[in-house]
Structures are given as structure tokens and as C-alpha cells.
Amino acid sequence: MLKLIILAPLVGATILGLFGKKMNERLIGIIACSSVAISALTAFYTVFGVLLSAAPGPDGVRRVSEHVMSWMRIGGISITDFGYVVDPLSGIMVLFVTGVGFLIHVFATGYMHGDESFYRFFAYLNLFMFMMLNLILGDNFLLMFVGWEGVGLCSYLLIGYYFLKKEAGDAAKKAFIANRVGDFGVVLGVLLIFFKCGSINFQKVMAWAATQPMETLGMSAVMAGGLTTIALLLFIGATGKSAQIPLYVWLPDAMAGPTPVSALIHAATMVTAGVYMVVRCNAIFTKAPSALLVVAIIGGLTAFFAATIGIAQWDIKKVLAYSTVSQLGYMFLACGVGAYAAAIFHVMTHAFFKALLFLGSGSVIHGMHHEQDMRYMGALKKYMKATYWTMTAGWLAICGIPIFAGFFSKDEILWKTFSTTALPAPFPMILWGLASLTALLTAVYMTRLMTVTFDGAERYDQKPAHHDDHGHGHGHDDHGHGHGHAFKPHESPLSMVVPLAVLAVLSVFGGLVGVPHILGGKIGVHNYFEEFLEPVIAVGHQVPGEHGAAPAGGHGTTAPAGEHTAAAPAAHAPATPAAPAAHAPAETHSEGLEFGLMGLSVVLGVTGILLGKAFFGKNPLWQPPTLLEAKYYVDEIYEAAIIKPIENVSREGLWKIVDVKIVDGAVNGAGRLVAGLGDTLRYLQSGFSRTYAAFIFVGAVLLIGYFFINKP
């Protein structure tokens, strides 16, 4: 069963890669979409038909697992396997990855229409699905790493899809290398896990981590080679894949890829892999307070930092890219404060509304004949009604307006940040402040995007002359529409609008699966999402034997888990009915506060929207501060401080001095010395065949003679 989920897209990719060149667009589209549809349907059946009715294992987690074969075996002991598992965490991931993935495939059949290597695009896209599914369904670290690097590869191929464009090639390379820097951390982390635990199977590692003592906060734990070290090494990988400080720089450039790719890979699925990994390893992170602190700070800072850049970008996709970086920061902030369920919840709702926003921007770009600069848009509401209204749903969702999906998940993160005991004071307050400020900024930049694009005056013909060459230079990127002056934007075809509509519905209602207890509890609506996910997260908090094994404060560290431990094993078994009861007491005392903060975050969102409307409605072409528009010059700093020095030292120092002057100098000197002794070198060079034969002959004679003299 799980094999089918994994292999269907691989089969699709293989067929398209080998034979796609001779197929027409229709057939290619059918193969590509149906392979993902098979995965999606099988995944839905697996989760709803099998997983929900499966008996929980001894650790309280329901699992559907499948072992294919050993991958690497040393002396009969398998180090890593092709083994797959669906549990609540990978179940949620697989549902939205295949679901959103399918919608984006359908959208792409419209968006990529007329592209000359249509088949190549879908072969890559299917391959991506295969790798992503390995990432989330793999039952051990190395198989996850297969997917991890594999999605990086597909990202590389798809960012560089328009390979004739230099910036696409540059961006692709940058993405791969930034990811590789992160992967370096993952590999070391996995090695350390294997060394410490003797296995890299998730279930075994997490069970082992749960038996480990709580580590301390501080540098000594970081360097100790224990759980804190492991957690931080893994997190290095997460900063690469999920575009966090300091490795986020590749994601905005990655927008050089076709827009469906930006939606699928660089918003909804791949970039959330880092969050998935941290949540998957929550048993490790929970025991490592230093790591949690780092994760929370990096997440909070990235969220804020990226939002400030997002305000100052003109390319509609760049705005969304920085928005993605910022939202991913929220997810890590959630992880850092121990609110793992909230992190995954936000991963899911973000997948809905950000995929929607990206596809919407794709529809806009398509309608604008491949114009991405918002300065030359405006008033599109008139021409693209469906796109406008669906995008509005995504806009309100990301701003955190109540009922919309983003509201529940973002509010959950803000509240958990405020109320966490996992971090020492004053970090919760500072991070909460930062995250709230970011919420305001988010509403502002998203409103700017919507207003500048859809409202105001038409600015289609204000493009400076040199930009008009666009159509010729990148002909492949164009659908053959001329980039004429007096053109009318047009609405996109149904294949594009329908996925937008579905995602819009999900962006509006998708959050209702995770209504916080404080809102839903009184009317009997559970936080189904959190309850479903809880057993996976609780593994890390089950302290075998005495509860006293962990410091008393350790239990309260993470909000969902802390409550959980109190109800210990009883809450695990039937999972649903007992859990809400366990929640109630822990939260009552702060109910008023939670309500208050929730209100505040809504006020921030609404304020942001109103501010944005008022300001950008009047000044759509407001010139942002150069520092922000230039993204704080981070790329330039990296180039000057890291890349150039390494290149120069390698070329001028290692190669031209160490290799050529020192080592070869010595060798040539020795050669000349030999030559000087008997001019042998020159002799060798002239008549070297005979000389060599003679040389060997003399050597052999000497050897044999030696043995005759020293007869044993």
C-alpha cells in the first residue's frame, strides 16, 4: 500500500522522462496528474481507512508500516532500510503533500501550456513528489535524507528549468549549495545518532531519546555530543532546507523557477521539510533546551527579518518568497517553544494559503503575459475576478483574520510562545513581541501586494523601454503572446482557476480541524488536529520509570505535552475522548489572558490591513528604503566575506603556490637532481623505451643476483 503511494510518481517520472518527448501535452498531463492522484487517493485511504482504525502500538502511536528491503548492510546488520511508515505526523504530511501536489499539477497543465519541454517539467515535478514522499514516509533518518537531498535535486532542476537564463542557473546552483551546507549538518547529526543510539530508525531513536536525561541550558551541553548537539546539527539542515537565517538566501532567488514550482516546492511542501524533521525529532529537541532556544530565536528573528524585506520588494513572487521565509520562521518559533502540533498545523494551513497565493500570482503573471513587477500592474480586479477573489481568501488567511485557516494556526503559535515554559525568561516575552510585530508587518506587506496588484490605476504601459525586450530574450518563458503595449490582462483557463478555488475553500475552512480548545471546547468542537498528532509528540515526554527522572520543570516545558504527561498512559489508549479533559485544567487559569491575546492578534491583523489599504491605496509606487529593497545586502556580504575569499585562496594560494610552486617545485627539483647526476632524465626522454626496458632488466638482474648471493 505505502509502496503504491511512493512509487506511482516515480513511475510517472520515468515514463515522462524516457518517452515524454514524443507525447502530446494532453497525454503528458494525464500521466503526470494521474500518478499523483493515485498517490493521493491511496494516501487518503491509508490514513482514513487504515490508520484511524489501527491499534496503537505500545507507545500509544498508531502506525501503518511497510518494509521493502535493506539498503546498506554490513555483516548481516542492516544500517538503513527502505522502510516506510504512516503515523499521525507523516499521515497529515502525506495528505496535504499529495493533495496540494495534485492541485498544483493540474494548475501547471494550464500554466505551462505551450512550453517546449512540457514533458521535462512534469517529469521533474513527478520526481519531486517521489522524493518528497520518501522524505515524509521514510522510517529512518537516512531514508528521510534520501528524500531530503532528492527534493533538493528536483528543486535544483526546476529552479534551473529555464536553463538558458543565467539567473535561473545561478539561482539553482545557489539553492543546491546552500542546501548542501545544511545537509552537512544533517549528515553529522545522523552519524552522531547512530554512534549514540546504535540505530537510525525513527521509532528506536525517539524511544531512546525519551530515556535520556534532560540536558542543561548552555554551551557545555552544545559541545557535549549528546542530544543538544544532535538537535543543533539537525537544525543546521533545517535552516538550509527551510530557508532560515543564515541559509535563507537561496529561497528568494529560487523564484526564477516556473510559478507552480514556487507554489509546490518553495512554499507548500519542500521548504517545510525542516519543520517536519524537527517535529519528527521532538523527543530529541525536548530534552535539549539550548537547542530549543536556538530554534526559537532563529525562527522568531527570521520571521521578523524576512517580513521587513517583504515590504520592500516589487516582484510579486519575491514578496511571496520572503513571506514564506517569514512564515517558516513562525513554524520554527513554534517548535522552539515546544508547540510542535501548532508548528505542523501552521505547516498545513500555510500550505493551503501560500500555495493559493503563489498560484494566484502565477495566474496574475500568466494574465499579464509574464510580467512580474507589481509596478506595472494595478486594477487587475477588473480583468481577473476569479483570481482576485480566491487570492483574497489567501490574503485574509495569512493576515490571521478569524475563521480563515491562518488565524487558528498563527494564533496558536503566538499564544504558545507567550505562555511557554520551555524557554527561560525573558525570551518568551521578547519572542512573542517579535512575532506579534511580524503579524502586523505580514498584514501590511500582503495588503500592499493585493492593493498594488489589483486596485488603483492600470500601469501596464509604464514599463521602461529596455524591459520590452523581455519577450524576445526569454522567448521560452513566454506563451507566444507578444509583449505589446496596449494589451489587456486576461483571466486564466479553468485548469488554473479550479485549483485556485479548491485552495481558497481550504484556506477559508481548513483551519477548523484545529480550533483551539478555548474557542471550541464550550460548543463541543475539539482540536482534532492536536489530538490526532498528540501521541507522536508525547513519545518524547514519556519518562520511563520514575517521573522524577526528569527535572520537575521539564514536564511543563511544552504546553501540549506538559498537560499530557499528567494524564499519562490513560490518555493514550483511546486517544480522543480522554484528551480534552486533560487539557482543561491546565488552561483555565489563563483563559482570560488567552482570549485577550487572541483579540490583540486579530487587532494587529486588521490594523495592518487598514494601514496597508490606506497607505498603499494612495501611494502604490511608494519607494521603500534602499536597505530593505536591497535585502540588507546580505548576498553581497556573503559574496565578499565567504565566497570570494575561498575562491581566491584556492586559486592563488592552494593551486598556484602550494601545488605548482611548493610540491611540484620539489618534485621537479628532485627530478633535475637525478638528471644532473647522469643526465638520465634527458636520456629517458629521448630514447625512453629502450632505457626503460634496460632499467627493468638491470633491476631484475640485481634482484636475482641478490638472492643468489644471499641464498636462504
Binding site: 490508520l51 546498506m72 546488520i77 534520501v146 537531498e149 538558458l164 528506536k204 584556492s650
Partner: protein, 521 residues
């Protein structure tokens, strides 16, 4: 079968030479032209490859071993054998040869007969090195390899071929003479102590690995003499400077063989001789060698990154990759040693393929300067796709071969008694290999065609596809199903490990077959 099995190793070793003789006769007496000679060479290397396949089933079978008296006066024997360590290297050799012959089908035009004869002699030497179980025999084949390669570079090479050939020759000869001296001393020391004067590798390994015949002081000297020969061959930093020159000047087939097989003679030697014969000295020198290996990994990658010549780039990348192999060997762990052996094969497959790809475009453009290319994906899509796959394999992308070797080696290094920082620095090789390969790809394959000379290049023809296809398939098979290889080499590697790593086998990791909890489908 009755005849084949006991004589197979002899056949494999001698058949290339027989083919070389046939080829000369065919030209002299049957008037075979260049094409005919090429066919004879190709046909015989293919037959030899097919003949070598049964080894996969027979490799540890004593019936396969050939052990005949040879030079009685000194107790040297004609002892051939194959174990799980040499098995795959023999197969790598027999697979590489037809590919190499076919790769030079049209590009080698001068002295075709001599060229093919040297190639075939080279095969005899290489197979001989891997199947010899007697030191004198091993040394003989070791030297036999040197000669044809020297000529392949010196006669069919590029502009600075003489310089490169002489450099290759001097470097290697210095090492091998020292090795010979060490072999002779070993012979006498062992003979005096046991009364059994022999060069037999199996006997010596048994006797020296588990006794105190050699003092640590003696071990150290002998170790260094052997190690120098092998490390030059590997090549380990800082003994590597012959390699870029040899590669750049060698014809494509020469580079392929050099990369795929010749370098492995060095790492094979380390595993076959240094570790089991001198275990204490191996430990004594492990840290310095670890350091050199780590430097080699990083240094090779950094220097590769800035090369303007694509062949030199790949040559330096070999220094980096072989550094990994040495790292694995001197980890003295089962994972590291098996990873090292596996990485030898991986490097043979993927770097061999890289040199083929460079050969393909060199034949079309007669240049290897990266700046001369750009945008090849447009005129040569098939070439570009396969080239990208090979680069990814070389950069250690999971599900392709390189990853398995690198991961096992890093795991081994991590489990070794060496400082963990070495492993961490070595792992940066993973980042750097992506940097130099992708940067090269971007400048050669992607982007617009900027040089009009590249606009009309022909994509791969059938011959070239046949040459490259087996290697591409192997990259995938070896990446997905390494157990096909690892399982067969385990026993032989474990024997080496047991000698060198006196501690009992590392506690078995928790058995990692998943316990099937919950519903299973």
C-alpha cells in the same frame, strides 16, 4: 566448468596478452586493418569481461585458487586467488577495458596497433595485481602496469605528454623500488624467524598479523616503504601532483583506466598489505594519515573548484575522493573499510564516466577549457542529461552510488578512535563536491550557447551511448542495492579488520529491521 574454474584466474590474467599477440599476428599474416584490430581488441576484452562474471559466484572457492611452484630458488610461487576484496576490483577492471577500447575507437589514429597492444598488456597487469597472492608476482604485475601506461601517456598524449609521462614514471618508480626493498626484507625477517622463506601473501599475513615476529620499529620502516608506494599511486596529498598532469595529457582511454583502476591499486595495496601485515605500525601512523586524507579531501576539492581545465578539475576531484577512501581504510572499522572498498568501485564508475564525458566533447571541440563551452544542453540534450547524472553521482547524491561509500566511510571514521573533528572536516567534502561540480556544469552545460562553435555540436552517437550506458546503470544499481556488493566483500574485509583492530567487533547496533507495530500492509 571442470577446466574453467581452476584455470579461470590464469586465463583472465593471460588472455589480454594472448589477444595482444593475436592482434599482431592478425595484422602481419591476415592483413587485418585498423578496424579489424580494434574489433579484436574489443571482442577479447568483452570475452574477458564475460569470463570474469562467474567470479561473483566462485570468489571464495578454494578450487579457484591456483598455487604452483614458480621460482623455487627464492620460494616465490605462482599463487593466484580472489577474495571478496579483490573480486570487485577485478570486475571493475574487466568492465572498464571494453569501455576504454570503445571510447578511443575514432579518436586514436596514430599507431593503432601499438595502442591496442599496450591497452591489452595493461589489462594483464591490472588483473594480475588484483589476483596475485605472492609478493614477487604482485610486484611483477605492478611494474607491468607501469610500462604500458607510461607509453599511453607518452605517445598518445597531449602537448606536454613527455613531461607528464616522465613525472608519472619517476613518482611511481621511486615508490615501487622502496616497496620491493621492503618485500625482500620482510621475506628475510619472516624466513629467519620461522624457517619458512616465502613471499606468499596469505602465509605472511597469517604469520605476521598474529605474532610478534616484527618489532614495532621494524614494522614502522616496512610500513612506510609499502605505504609510500601505495600513497603515491592513490595519490594521497602531498604526493598527488603527478595525477593532474598525467590525466590532462593522457588520451581518454588512458584517463579512464588511470582513474577507474590504477589509482585503486594504491588503496587496494594499503588494505591488502599495510593493514594486515603491520597492524601496530598502522595504528602508529593512523593519525598522520588521517590528517593527510582529510587535507586531501578538502584541498583536492578546493583546487578542483578553480581549475579552468575541466579534465584537471576532475583529476583534482579524484584526489578528494580518494582521500575519503584512505580515511575509511585507516578508520580500522568494518563500516569504514567496506565503505572504502565500495568507494573505490564508485570512484571507478563515476570518475571513469566523467573522463568519458570530457573525452566526448574534447573529440568535438579539441579543447577542455571550461570557458570554451557553455550551453551544451541546447545542442546536446542527451549528453547533458547523462553528464548531470554522473556529476550528481560523483557529488554523492543519495540513491546514486557515491553516497553509499561516502556515508559508510564517514560512519567508519566517526566510530574510529580518531578525533571526531576529522570526520566533521571530511564531511565538508560533501559541500565542496557539489560546489565544484555544479559550478562546472553551469558553465559547461547550462545557459545560452555563447560560443558559436558549440551551436551545432552533435549529440551522443550510438557508440558513445553504448560506452556510457553501463556506467550510468551501475551508478543507479550501486546506489540503490549496495548490498549486492557489500555482502560479498564483508568476509574478506572483516579478516583485515580483525587483524588490525584488536578490539572485539564493535557492539552490534540495535537490529534495525523495523518492528512492525500497528497495522501492516
Amino acid at each position: 566448468m571442470d577446466f574453467l574454474k581452476p584455470n579461470l584466474l590464469l586465463l583472465l590474467t593471460l588472455l589480454p596478452t594472448v589477444a595482444a599477440v593475436l592482434l599482431i599476428l592478425a595484422q602481419k599474416f591476415a592483413g587485418a586493418g585498423e578496424e579489424g584490430m580494434r574489433r579484436i581488441a574489443l571482442g577479447s576484452t568483452v570475452v574477458i569481461f564475460l569470463l570474469s562474471l562467474p567470479l561473483i559466484g566462485w570468489y571464495d572457492d578454494p578450487a579457484l585458487t591456483m598455487n604452483l611452484p614458480w621460482i623455487d630458488a627464492i620460494g616465490a610461487r605462482f599463487h593466484l586467488g580472489v577474495d571478496g576484496m579483490s573480486l570487485w576490483l577485478v570486475l571493475l577492471t574487466t568492465l572498464t577495458m571494453p569501455i576504454a577500447v570503445l571510447s578511443g575507437w575514432t579518436s586514436v589514429e596514430k599507431r593503432v596497433r601499438e595502442y591496442l597492444v599496450f591497452m591489452l598488456l595493461l589489462e594483464t597487469g591490472m588483473i594480475g595485481v588484483f589476483v596475485s597472492m605472492d609478493m614477487i608476482l604482485f610486484y611483477l604485475f605492478w611494474e607491468v602496469v607501469l610500462v604500458p601506461m607510461y607509453f599511453l601517456i607518452g605517445v598518445w598524449g597531449g602537448e606536454r605528454r613527455i613531461y607528464a609521462a616522465v613525472k608519472f614514471f619517476l613518482y611511481t618508480v621511486v615508490g615501487s623500488l622502496l616497496m620491493l626493498a621492503a618485500m625482500i626484507s620482510l621475506y628475510f625477517i619472516h624466513g629467519k624467524a620461522t624457517g619458512n622463506y616465502t613471499f606468499d601473501i596469505v602465509v605472511l599475513t597469517k604469520a605476521l598479523g598474529s605474532s610478534s615476529i616484527l618489532t614495532l620499529e621494524t614494522q614502522k620502516w616496512l610500513f612506510l616503504a609499502f605505504a609510500l608506494a601505495f600513497m603515491i599511486k592513490v595519490p594521497l596529498f602531498p604526493l598527488h601532483t603527478w595525477l593532474p598532469d598525467a590525466h590532462v595529457e593522457a588520451p581518454t582511454a588512458g584517463s579512464v583506466i588511470l582513474a577507474a583502476v590504477l589509482l585503486k591499486m594504491g588503496t587496494y595495496g594499503l588494505m591488502r598489505f599495510n593493514l594486515p601485515l603491520f597492524p601496530e605500525a598502522s595504528h602508529y601512523y593512523a593519525t598522520p594519515i588521517f590528517v593527510l586524507a582529510v587535507i586531501g579531501i578538502v584541498y583536492g576539492a578546493l583546487v578542483a573548484m578553480v581549475q579552468p581545465d575541466v579534465k584537471k578539475l576532475v583529476a583534482y576531484s579524484s584526489v578528494s575522493h580518494l582521500g575519503f577512501v584512505v580515511l575509511g581504510i585507516f578508520s580500522f572499522t568494518d563500516k569504514g573499510l567496506e565503505g572504502a572498498l565500495y568507494q573505490m568501485l564508485n570512484h571507478g564508475v563515476s570518475t571513469g564516466a566523467l573522463f568519458l564525458f570530457i573525452g566526448f566533447i574534447y573529440e568535438r571541440r579539441h579543447t577542455r577549457q571550461i570557458s570554451e563551452f557553455g550551453g551544451l544542453a541546447t545542442p546536446m540534450p542527451v549528453y547533458s542529461t547523462l553528464f548531470v547524472i554522473t556529476c550528481l553521482a560523483s557529488a554523492g547524491l543519495p540513491l546514486l552510488n557515491g553516497f553509499v561509500g561516502e556515508f559508510l566511510i564517514l560512519l567508519g571514521a566517526f566510530f574510529s578512535t580518531q578525533h571526531v573533528a576529522f570526520t566533521a572536516i571530511a564531511a565538508t567534502g560533501m559541500i565542496l563536491s557539489a560546489v565544484y561540480l555544479l559550478w562546472m556544469l553551469q558553465r559547461v552545460v547550462f545557459g545560452e550557447v555563447t560560443n558559436p562553435k558549440n551551436a551545432k555540436l552533435q549529440d551522443l552517437n550510438t557508440r558513445e551511448l553504448v560506452v556510457i550506458a553501463p556506467l550510468i546503470i551501475l551508478m543507479v544499481v550501486m546506489g540503490v542495492a549496495p548490498n549486492l556488493f557489500l555482502d560479498r566483500s564483508h568476509k574478506a574485509v572483516e579478516e583485515v579488520r580483525k587483524v588490525v583492530d584488536k578490539t572485539p567487533a564493535a557492539p552490534a547496533p540495535v537490529e534495525s529491521q523495523p518492528t512492525h507495530l500497528g497495522a501492516t500492509h
